[in-house]
Symmetry: C2
Subunit: 227 residues, 2 copies
DNA sequence: AAATTGTTCTTCGTATACACTCGGTCGGGA
DNA sequence: TCCCGACCGAGTGTATACGAAGAACAATTT
């Protein structure tokens, strides 16, 4: 397994810094590094088995993405999402993903729709198997796919980084909603397939309102650690 | 004066990489580095009088922000904004800045409004003086200020980076519209002062529609270099 | 006990080295 | 002449080492 990883690390042409960035993101999203936790360059370099240079470059991007906060001369700490930022996130998502849904409806090819349907099927299966992690993953994949179909790179890249944070927040709190939201996904894909922009936008808004409410409800419980 | 070592870029306490990033952004926005131009690390390091490390870290962030494209093993080139991406930018701005206007209307304090009015005054003056560069600058400042008043950090940070691109596109093309848009700005600030979210959102949409139309008209003329 | 001084940890920037890869060039063969 | 493959150089990707400076904390002194 370790060999396999090395192979991928070496053979693949992906720069190390990107892999470090990806690993860092997932570590934060998965809660391996908790909000407020100190992240020294040396420690990360050791954790990922690389030198400090790629770590530093990854950290700068992670900072730009909002996953870590860098204090000058002090180092990096994992950012602490507050319930306030969750509300803000959803306010932005509402605007962005509704636009994405509209554009996707207007531009989706039959192949695009088929891909979405396939994801829907896999999601249903995973839900039946009670495989929450997989459901959450498919959830992300579906939304990202819609973003991509929208064909607006700005929308796509911005929402992508937003979505990672959504995942983060959910992971720290409530993953239980994912199955429940699947019905709304079906509505959304139906709307996109119909080519009706207004309808797709509306479906996206409904989905987000429900997700937002659920996230909020859960956040009140206080998943945010003392700091 | 004994510290002539530091007058390269910074006698400041800001990390060098941030200064390099800022310098790189303005160089691109101002057209000192043209779209498609090759940016080797060594060259930038020499241009800014620093070593490769800060340059690299700045480049990664510039890539995340969309100012440069990094080709694996080939290096960085200045991104080439196409008329397509301009349209995409405005589609996103429409959603985001209208939200910002609404939130700003709901949350603006009298002091906030006073600050906006002051900017408006300065803008009027600059317009009378035909100082287009200053008008463009105030234009940015005004919009950024509204974003900040909205109190949504996500909105603020996303729109901020978007706005830098707006400036870029305008700088490469039409700065002439700036004075014309000033009347719309007054409407917008009036609406924010009124505290009426709907009205503020509407004013923002009208402003953006006009700006978008102007940008497009100009882009058709083809400011995008052969590449 | 309070203030000052040192010590240590860590970032920040620089410098250097080297493998690897891509792109172009040059030369030979059809 | 044209094509094709080997070679070469430029530039990135990564590692490593080192010095300087800031921040936090402990130790020492008054």
């Amino acid at each position: 397994m370790a060999e396999d990883l090395r192979d991928k690390l070496g053979a693949q042409h992906l720069p190390l810094r990107d892999q470090v960035l990806a690993a860092l993101r997932t570590a934060i999203i998965d809660g391996d590094y908790l909000p407020g936790e100190r992240l020294t360059e040396d420690r990360l370099a050791e954790d990922f088995g690389v030198s400090r240079n790629p770590v530093r470059e990854a950290l700068r991007v992670a900072e730009a993405e909002g996953f870590v906060v860098i204090l000058p001369r002090r180092g990096a700490v994992v950012a602490s999402p507050s319930s306030g930022t969750i509300a803000d996130m959803f306010a932005v998502r509402e605007r962005l993903e509704s636009l994405a849904a509209r554009l996707a409806a207007e531009r989706a090819t039959p192949a695009d729709v088929a891909a979405l349907r396939a994801l829907l099927d896999q999601g249903r299966e995973a839900t039946q198997r009670q495989d929450l992690a997989r459901v959450a993953e498919l959830n992300s994949t579906l939304h990202l796919r819609i973003l991509q179909i929208s064909g607006n790179p700005w929308l796509s890249s911005i929402a992508k980084s937003l979505y990672l944070h959504v995942q983060w927040v959910f992971r720290l709190g409530a993953a239980e909603r994912a199955p429940h939201s699947w019905a709304e996904h079906i509505q959304l894909v139906d709307a996109i397939e119909s080519g009706d922009g207004d309808r797709a936008e509306q479906a996206a808004l409904i989905h987000l309102a429900a997700a937002s409410a659920a996230a909020f409800e859960n956040a009140e419980g206080g998943y945010v650690a003392a700091h």
